[in-house]
Symmetry: D2
Amino acid sequence: MKIAMLGLGKMGGNMATRLIRNGINVVGFDMSSEMIAKLEREESLIPASSVEDAVNQLEGQKIIWMMLPAGEVTEKQIDDLIPMLNPGDIIVDGGNSNYKHSVKIGAMLKEHNIGFMDCGTSGGVWGLDNGYCLMVGADNDVAKAVEPVLRALAPNQQDGWLHVGPIGSGHYTKMIHNGIEYGMMESFAEGLELLKGKTEFDIDLAKVTELWRHGSVVRSWLLDLTAESLKGDQNLDNIEPYVADSGEGRWTVVESVDLGIPAPVLTLALQVRFRSQEKQKGYGYKLLSIMRNAFGGHLLRKKG
Amino acid sequence: MKIAMLGLGKMGGNMATRLIRNGINVVGFDMSSEMIAKLEREESLIPASSVEDAVNQLEGQKIIWMMLPAGEVTEKQIDDLIPMLNPGDIIVDGGNSNYKHSVKIGAMLKEHNIGFMDCGTSGGVWGLDNGYCLMVGADNDVAKAVEPVLRALAPNQQDGWLHVGPIGSGHYTKMIHNGIEYGMMESFAEGLELLKGKTEFDIDLAKVTELWRHGSVVRSWLLDLTAESLKGDQNLDNIEPYVADSGEGRWTVVESVDLGIPAPVLTLALQVRFRSQEKQKGYGYKLLSIMRNAFGGHLLRKKG
Amino acid sequence: MKIAMLGLGKMGGNMATRLIRNGINVVGFDMSSEMIAKLEREESLIPASSVEDAVNQLEGQKIIWMMLPAGEVTEKQIDDLIPMLNPGDIIVDGGNSNYKHSVKIGAMLKEHNIGFMDCGTSGGVWGLDNGYCLMVGADNDVAKAVEPVLRALAPNQQDGWLHVGPIGSGHYTKMIHNGIEYGMMESFAEGLELLKGKTEFDIDLAKVTELWRHGSVVRSWLLDLTAESLKGDQNLDNIEPYVADSGEGRWTVVESVDLGIPAPVLTLALQVRFRSQEKQKGYGYKLLSIMRNAFGGHLLRKKG
Amino acid sequence: MKIAMLGLGKMGGNMATRLIRNGINVVGFDMSSEMIAKLEREESLIPASSVEDAVNQLEGQKIIWMMLPAGEVTEKQIDDLIPMLNPGDIIVDGGNSNYKHSVKIGAMLKEHNIGFMDCGTSGGVWGLDNGYCLMVGADNDVAKAVEPVLRALAPNQQDGWLHVGPIGSGHYTKMIHNGIEYGMMESFAEGLELLKGKTEFDIDLAKVTELWRHGSVVRSWLLDLTAESLKGDQNLDNIEPYVADSGEGRWTVVESVDLGIPAPVLTLALQVRFRSQEKQKGYGYKLLSIMRNAFGGHLLRKKG
């Protein structure tokens, strides 16, 4: 079997590698010719000089797997692909696209008789060795056609991939997955902050997180990683107190609003990240401070 | 009528003044003899050289009104007062004590046949002119005896004071009042932050808060004060983004936990203040950051 | 001065009335001819038999004020109006439209040389007597032309209306206003629930809310209304525990997500309403319950 | 080695069993003689006819491990034990006691020269087979003496037990562990509710939770259990939407308040449970509803 992989970055490159190691031939293209060369040299990737070249190197029912930045880049790539493909060919969007967008893309491609799969992909940098968790939205015939690729990417042929439902349901499920991830991360962060804040007990966070990995109710992969990360300097003096966020955490909150279903913890986990990003430099705090001053005559902390 | 006022600070001093201006004689004592002298000179306060002296200058059923810092100072003062008083005399705690404490104090004083009133007092620095809002917990006879004082402190003789219920209920009601105050302040702060964050509209917050004072659903005294405060520099460049909190906001959250009744907005309003105080310098954010890095290979923002 | 008012429901009807009483002639149209007849009879409204008829009864620079349900109805009405109007005429959307929509409408109408104003309107059923709070987004010449109407609707000619900024900023400001309103309402609801939950104090909520109206920090129009509402049966036994929500509360949360500015209290106030609506009949609670059972062997509460 | 186990319920009984199977002799007592008899018959527990009898069957440095309900029962038992023990003997509280209490107990027992260990125990009904995760607060000599017991209870001799720090730190760490557990559970519940609420995708929650167990970022023991629990009827029609809570979730929130360190997600996860318990039958919702009605003339939903 031979497919094309567009985008050979942190995710796409590793996925191409895992596919090749599991017996799938991969024609690869990336804006960086260096990435292509490296994978050709080390993993027998079949190099392509352009997207068109990648497509042309496939035969029969062509499967184009995209691992590109969500949004404009992905959309543009799909538009460009349409004239290169034949009816029955398949585009897989394995990136972090908004599911609403995937629903639209799928409908548009259907008019061109091109199959579409939205594949939510979890596993991060560990996926190469551990396998990826794949949440798939697609029509049945498309899911069937891509199944060997999904099996090769998943942790084992059986587990770790699922045809969740119609087009859009793959990215929807991945979005919710990431929302849950935010909530879990924040749960750990808050708990550990309370442990550290109890200075009279002088608790060793590296040891406690390692401890919890064995037999406790909170044992989890995130805990495994956290325990590992705390083994060096647990004071984290050199880390900026800044947490980025991605589309999926935000979309989960918007979905909660759209559905009218409360998701307070997932929402707050996102808002904590906003707070860390301090786009307004504490303006809200300052407002509270001047209000207190106004009614209570409380002293304002002035700068300088 | 003549009562003693212990504590002549920002609150006690103004309350003594309002009482005197409304025809109640006030014997006043404070650790600062300067405060006593000032009120004697400007408002005809009857000075006392000590707590004992203040008590001794009263006749008949003595009423001792305390405006002292909650906690140890208030407790100590009550212990000291007991031997100076006669059965039937009354101690009023007008400070921000924990209602649980007031219930205990009331029971203890009952054993000495000394009456007790817990009086939650709202109004801040504006109370002198506007009158105070007084939430009273006491036995009926005690409430009856202190009523003329309450009338003199309230905005008018009729409104702004209430015998809420038994001992403890006054401070309980004040505690909840402050919890609500936290929620309202945070509501305004968040809304205004969103107005300011919409930079393309370049909205003048001073003008909008002034606008809302007229006919809108959110018109309120807090809005009046906020509008006034924003009239100068609305960028608040010189204000530290730090918001203190007091016992009552915290006790409200603990009460919610004790009763098993959710109060998510009041709780979050408190936690936002904690966040501003940054006791752990963003340790929680750093934890989130290293977790992201661990599973996703996301770049850490390192300092320096 | 003569303008047209389209939509004579709870809001539009009262606004037409207030305008007429303040010397503005109003040509009115509504789907309900009964409403038109009533206002004609009682308030000298000039009746129109259709939107076109309403427009045709105006002279010079025509001002069409719409008080229609946000969304499709409003959009459709604007589309229909375009061919009836001349360059320089003005459409005012006084309803609760999404500000993003208003920005688009404004740009579209500009292509037809038709002026547009988005006017956020607060004041509810009390606006007729008290006046409305009007938050206006518009170009300067449009704002100038409509000013006499704004003055007549506002609590007094001076206060209660503001040209906030460009098109969209009016509905944006109204959206944030409603977000704040949600937070304030929830703050009161939580505080009062904690008062009621302290059964040993048997606190009279009607009396306490009335008390707080005088001199307290939380005094506000919402408190005035709440105190009034609790004067009858404060147990609310006959009220369904269901709270509807409107577009603006939801859009405020989405805006917080879009801007990356945290608004946790406004968000939670919305989510509490979602919870009351119980779209999934406690499914989340059930999930928690089966998890507890799974690890702890805790008894499940089964139905029946 | 021989120790006494007081309390042979769900936790204590399984722990006694695990100890016996790992070569520790256990003298057991419980209020239910049936439990004692069962464990004597099936697991060679050494039966005791009373607490005193249990203590008397030990030799040398006696170790009494208590698995009793936190609070009064545990306190009373400790008081009763004191006269039965000799200097150097050790009491272990393996239950879910408040760490503040454990600190006090430890100090009190020190006056009697009796050693104390607070041991937070996680693992639930699965601990018998998987081993328990043990978080230990104790002086060094006490920890040393009890170590063989800890090793036998833990998943393996090396991992799953930790001498965290001084007396109190064991229960403190367990408290935080449970706080995190609440946050994780709520994260999953919210995410799954959003999956289920997206009815057009008709997502199979049993399959998705099973999927996520393989390679995803949220894989965890809680997910394992959830996936298993959903394999039958995922509609949960027969489950009451009621979630109990325990002391530790509540104490975590109080600790956050005491330390002034925000823990919004852990707090909300608790409050969601309060909400499910509906102590006030939606009174807060009703208040919101009458407020809306008061200012907006919105229709109230009345019962019946």
